[in-house]
């Protein structure tokens, strides 16, 4: 595989210069020489974007870097061209291998014409008879909105799959491989990710000054972030803990911020705003236009905050997520300060280096999350350990910056660089066997139950085994990593009057772990959430059990049926003796078919 160029940010379009126009000419020549069959083969191999750009296998699409309100105030952040990898089979919608835009308005019960793909010109147009490529100036805006939202989500997906982030294909959590995007789902001040319908839904509101959430980069990237995290950690949405829900929101918010920072113009504006040359910090204020129109506040959430874990009690998950978003933003500013003023790089170079570094720091650890019930401390520990693996020496003391920020935010974090120890007596895994099949991976787990503290009587599910090929600093190729997630359910009986009609029933306590090896079978990381059955983990297991019981009792006391969802509609098949019809009877619900099943 060709080495990616060092100074080529993914997805960016450079202004033509003399040397570049020659390069473009060479690309076009190469592109003309490549047959359609070879082009299909190349595109299906998922080459790095830089390679695809060299082979002229990219298409240019205009999108909003922020949203129309910001674009109005800051024209350089208006609709601008980005590059998306061409792939065989691009179709009207737009429709690509992983995404399908369906412009159905549930309010008006209307299905809009899709944006039309013209293969010869490699662009989208308004309708099959149109000659000019789609832009934001078109009178009927729907097709531009469709293209804008598709390109933004595609960019987020490409961003996560890139070697600088996860370095592997990202699955969706639902059964299937195509995420449906609905740009004008109906009237409402809302956008959401709905795994049941495999969709991202964007709504619109306002009569005089209509606000389309599908045009807000922050909102679209945020929802796409939820879909990505759900794909790599599909049991997070089944977790009841506040911190796990807040982590989901954090990942969604940081996706918006970091994917925005991939744009040269956005980075440039950010630097100038820090220098006081441009209006105050727009980057950290998410969803500017949406926030202006809703609740008369300038933005929904801000990354520039001082919240700590002490502020969490009584708050809901969106509010708590700001602790982590603020933490990462503080680290970004710390890195920027180091690159710019201490290491004396130019503002432009410092911004790019800080962006690259924070992207690796903040997002590569996502693969180190446990499969369920992740907490803020799990994230902070994963972040530090990942950085330790990549930079054992840490000459510029960036891990000190991370620890300092975590301490300020009261997030529990190890205070030294002591590496995570491998479980005692864990055998070396045949990594190719792990990747061969889930059953083969299970054989390894079963042989190491004692080391991994998996109770002998529990049946274990392999959630996922993935291989990641990432790059570190200066695009240095890192050893391939194999990440394995496993899960089991420990039945917990609801014993006590506080459980009302659910008394005597069992609820699953999801337990499991994530273990990471390199391609030479060396142990890299282990994160686990234990049950109560293994002696060494009993204290933590009991605490988890108590938290679960308290949560169920709370829901029963509140008189709502959310606990019903927890017991029967989670994606993990439990070992509970409870049947859906019994529970439905107890809770006064009928046996009508479940949504989406």
């Amino acid at each position: 595989m060709p080495t990616p160029k060092k100074s080529a940010p993914a997805g960016e379009v450079r202004r033509p210069k003399n040397t570049l126009s020659k390069k473009l000419a060479r690309q076009r020549l190469l592109g003309d020489l490549i047959s359609p069959k070879l082009r299909t083969t190349l595109a299906s191999r998922r080459w790095p974007l830089e390679v695809l750009r060299e082979l002229d296998l990219m298409i240019k699409v205009p999108v909003y870097f922020e949203d129309p309100l910001v674009a109005k105030e800051i024209p350089e952040l208006g609709p601008n061209m980005i590059e998306i990898a061409w792939e065989p089979g691009l179709a009207d919608g737009p429709t690509s291998s992983r995404l399908a835009v369906v412009d159905y308005d549930g309010d008006a019960k209307r299905l809009e014409q899709p944006a039309h793909w013209v293969e010869e010109k490699r662009c989208f147009v308004n309708n099959p008879t149109a000659k000019k490529p789609l832009t934001s100036e078109h009178r009927n805006p729907h097709q531009f909105h469709q293209m804008n939202v598709w390109a933004t989500v595609q960019r987020v997906l490409d961003f996560y799959e890139d070697a600088t982030v996860l370095g592997r294909p990202v699955p969706w959590a639902f059964r299937g491989n195509r995420l449906i995007i609905v740009p004008h789902a109906g009237e409402g001040q809302n956008a959401c990710y709905d795994p049941t319908s495999k969709s991202l839904q964007f709504y619109y509101f306002g009569e005089a000054n209509r606000v389309y959430t599908c045009l807000s980069h922050d909102i679209v990237a945020h929802e796409a972030g939820h879909a990505v995290l759900d794909g790599i950690r599909p049991y997070f949405l089944d977790s009841f803990g506040l911190e796990t829900a807040a982590l989901h929101e954090f990942v969604a918010d940081i996706t918006a911020i970091l994917s925005s920072l991939r744009n040269n113009d956005v980075r440039s504006f950010f630097i100038q705003s820090l220098e006081g040359k441009k209006p105050a910090n727009f980057l950290e204020n998410l969803a500017e236009q949406f926030g202006e129109a809703v609740e008369n506040r300038p933005y929904l959430r801000t990354a520039n905050n001082k919240f700590t874990m002490d502020d969490m009690p009584g708050r809901e998950c969106h509010e708590c997520s700001q602790i982590l978003t603020g933490m990462v933003f503080d680290i970004l500013l710390g890195l920027l300060e180091s690159y710019w003023h201490e290491r004396k790089r130019s503002a432009k170079q410092a911004a790019w280096d800080a962006t690259q570094r924070i992207t690796r720091l903040a997002l590569q650890p996502l693969d180190y999350f446990p499969p369920v019930d992740a907490k803020f401390s799990d994230y902070a520990q994963a972040m530090l350990h990942r950085d330790y693996l990549l930079n054992p020496d840490d000459p510029y003391k960036y891990r000190s910056i991370i620890r300092q920020v975590c301490n300020t935010r009261k997030i529990p974090v190890p205070q030294d660089d002591k590496p995570i120890e491998a479980p005692y007596n864990l055998s070396y895994p045949p990594v190719n066997d792990l990747l061969a099949s889930h059953t083969a991976a299970y054989h390894y787990l079963h042989a190491n139950r004692k080391a991994l503290r998996i109770p002998n009587r529990q049946d274990v599910v392999i959630v996922d085994v993935s291989a990641a090929e990432r790059v570190g600093r200066d695009y240095f190729h890192l050893p391939r990593e194999v990440i394995m997630q496993y899960l089991w359910a420990e039945d917990v009986t609801l014993d006590g009057r506080e459980f009302g009609p659910l008394q005597g029933m069992a609820v699953p306590l999801l337990c499991g772990g994530t273990v990471v090896f390199d391609e030479n079978s060396n142990f890299l990381y282990w994160a686990r959430k234990p049950g109560t059955e293994e002696e060494k983990d009993q204290a933590e297991g009991r605490q988890r059990k108590q938290e679960l019981l308290a949560h169920v009792a709370d829901r029963v006391a509140a008189g709502d049926a959310e606990v019903y969802k927890r017991l029967t509609s989670g994606r993990f098949t439990t070992q509970s003796s409870l049947t859906e019809s019994t529970l439905a009877q107890r809770l006064g619900l009928s046996n009508s078919s479940r949504l989406g099943d």
């Binding site: 549930g106 299905l111 009237e187 956008a191 319908s197 839904q201 006391a557 509140a558 049926a561």
Partner: protein, 449 residues
């Protein structure tokens, strides 16, 4: 022995709980209507209401805690949340009246039950499974109401099982309706002047009439269009083929880039579709509220529950509000011909909880008959409500309605910081004047003759 009729409308937040003590010759008849509030209110308020009611009963009955009648107008959280069997232990109840809609095997409520099940599932999906969905206050309120409080319903309906799971197992449970009903007659009610009524008072002039709901829930309150949608929606959710779906055939809606089943599922999960169904269910439950007219010693008291008025629209197939049906019945029964002495305003002061508009074809509103200008200041009007719960788009209570009622009420108040004009007494605004730990608005009515 108390001679005046006493009403306490408790401040429970956004909800209802009303205690009525009716003098009946040498005894008092004690009635409690509803005990609930929204999920955003404190349960402690409801506990304190029940403690106060029990205290009143002990004082009136020489230490015995006996309630003659418990009325549960309809199965919304803000009316039933407080029916925790633990809180009712030791309280003896004569009869429990439940809306006919709450009867589990009611043969003429099949579509209504389907709608209820669907909306419960949709509400759960929207509240707990659609991530990052930030719902408006009104939408969240609608969805909360769709999630039935199963424990409270069980406690009210069932008499067998654990004593901790049921409210006074010896109390007779009656599913009441307006129209003539054999089961209700056997239980001691009678059918007179077009309504089922309780007339077993020592004072023969005292009558407690059931003005709503109608027994035929599906036929009266769903309407043809709503019924069709319920069936279609149920089919969409079951992911049956859409080939014979009238909507798809009529409009040709099917995107070329996803499958039919994926599109069906998507449509069923769009916020609007789901919310629209939840709103339909919310309206249905409101419209099946038990509406009571108490006639006592020349006085007329109306307790409206959450009965809705669906305006004067003439669409043939649209669903009808409870007020619309009551007014139609009234053409024969005439129970709204005379003015009222007490009105517990419907649906917490919402604009659709009262027949505010003029009926089609006449120049007066029903208010002009029930609360005539010529009797200004004769009717006590109370609103049990909490502002801000429902959001700002359709405010509850509604200022226009409050202004109109304020012009007609004997107990009109001017509340600083609220609307400029007089309005009827409101539980949420009276609480700042209360000194007791349990807030309420108390009304006493002396006999008219």
């Amino acid at each position: 022995m108390q001679k005046n009729l006493l009403i306490r409308v408790y401040d429970v937040g956004f909800g209802d709980s009303i205690y009525v003590a009716i003098p009946d010759k040498d005894r008092m008849f004690h009635m409690l209507i509803d005990c609930g509030n929204s999920n955003q209110d404190s349960l402690e308020k409801l506990q304190k209401v029940l403690e106060d009611v029990r205290s009143l009963l002990r004082d009136a009955n020489e230490g015995e805690e006996r309630l003659d009648l418990l009325v549960v107008t309809h199965p919304h959280q803000d009316h039933i949340r407080g029916f925790n069997p633990t809180w009712f232990q030791g309280l003896s109840i004569g009869q429990i009246w439940l809306s006919a809609f709450m009867k589990e095997d009611h043969p003429q409520a099949k579509q209504a039950r389907t709608l209820q099940s669907l909306s419960t599932m949709l509400a759960k999906a929207l509240l707990y499974e659609s991530h990052n969905l930030e719902l408006s206050a009104a939408d969240r309120s609608t969805l909360d109401l769709c999630i039935t409080n199963a424990r409270a319903l069980d406690a009210l309906r069932h008499t067998s099982g654990n004593a901790d799971d049921t409210i006074d197992p010896d109390a007779a449970r009656l599913y009441v309706c307006r129209d003539e009903n054999v089961a209700l007659k056997k239980a001691g009610l009678s059918f007179k002047d077009g309504t089922m009524c309780l007339r077993s008072f020592s004072d023969t002039s005292t009558v407690l009439r059931v003005l709503a709901p109608e027994w035929d829930i599906d036929g009266s309150y769903l309407g043809e269009t709503c019924g069709e949608h319920t069936t279609l929606f149920a089919r969409l959710l079951a992911t049956e083929t859409a080939n014979d779906s009238p909507e798809t055939v009529a409009t040709g809606l099917q995107p070329a880039n996803i499958s039919m089943s994926d599109f069906q599922r998507l449509r069923s999960r769009l916020l609007y579709s789901s919310l629209a169904f939840c709103e339909m269910d919310e309206q249905l439950r409101n419209n099946t509220s038990v509406v009571l007219l108490l006639e006592w010693q020349g006085r007329r008291l109306l307790f409206c529950g959450d009965a809705e008025w669906s305006g004067t629209a003439k669409r043939k197939k649209s669903k009808k509000g409870s007020w619309n049906i009551m007014l139609e019945n009234d053409k024969q029964n005439g129970h709204f011909a005379k003015p009222l002495d007490f009105l517990k305003v419907g649906h917490h002061g919402s604009i659709n909880g009262s027949p505010y508009e003029a009926e089609s074809g006449i120049n007066e509103t029903i208010f002009d008959r029930l609360l005539p200008a010529s009797r200004r200041g004769r009717c006590q009007i109370v609103v049990s409500t909490e502002s801000g719960i429902h959001g700002k788009k359709n405010p509850v209570p509604n200022p226009l309605l409050l202004r109109d009622l304020g012009r007609r009420a004997a107990n009109a108040r001017h509340y600083d910081g609220d609307i400029a004009e007089d309005q009827p007494q409101r539980t949420d605004l009276e609480r700042y004047n209360q000194k007791s730990p349990v807030g309420y608005i108390e009304v006493e009515l002396a006999p008219a003759r």
